[in-house]
Symmetry: C2
Subunit: 100 residues, 2 copies
């Protein structure tokens, strides 16, 4: 099973974007990618979902894939368009999980 997709181990293809679903949906997405051979998964989020992204990374490495560690965390500010059409600045996070 794990042998099937060797090319998935390639770096930047593996991104999980955390939004409004339950935390475990994203945990499962990360765990699945790693179990399919990904050595690295980047968990991304914006705004209020940032807290959930940190939960996802912490749960993955403490509960499911203990050989995974957080290699890097980056934050940034992105400009999006609000509902009223005005530009709005929102914080973003990228958490890089790497399997040792």
């Amino acid at each position: 099973m794990a042998e099937e997709k060797e090319t998935k181990g390639n770096a930047q293809d593996n991104v999980v974007f955390v939004g409004k679903k339950g935390t475990m949906a994203y945990v499962l997405a990360v765990v699945t990618q790693m179990n399919q051979g990904a050595k690295e998964v980047v968990v991304k989020a914006r705004g209020k979902a940032i807290s959930r992204a940190v939960d996802v990374a912490e749960i993955v490495r403490h509960k499911f894939i203990t050989e995974a560690e957080i290699a890097e965390i980056k934050t940034s500010t992105e400009e999006v368009t609000a509902e009223d059409g005005k530009p709005l600045k929102v914080s973003a996070i990228e958490i890089k999980l790497v399997k040792k």
Copy 2:
């Protein structure tokens, strides 16, 4: 309003613990500490306040102290006691802002 006294870390550490107040209250706390000579301020938060802590760090470095940069971001899992007395795991973040 009761003022929280941060006793964590040694005396030289400048820590701002982000909670439920408005984002700008914490931005002001960081900016004040840096303007009073602190070269380094650590912004800490737990749970849902994590998103706000990222906002604080981003606003400080982009709007107020452009010579400040994020030197390090660490996440962890802490165990707290829930209202019903049960142990509860909560994610935490520490964002180290350093003035160049």
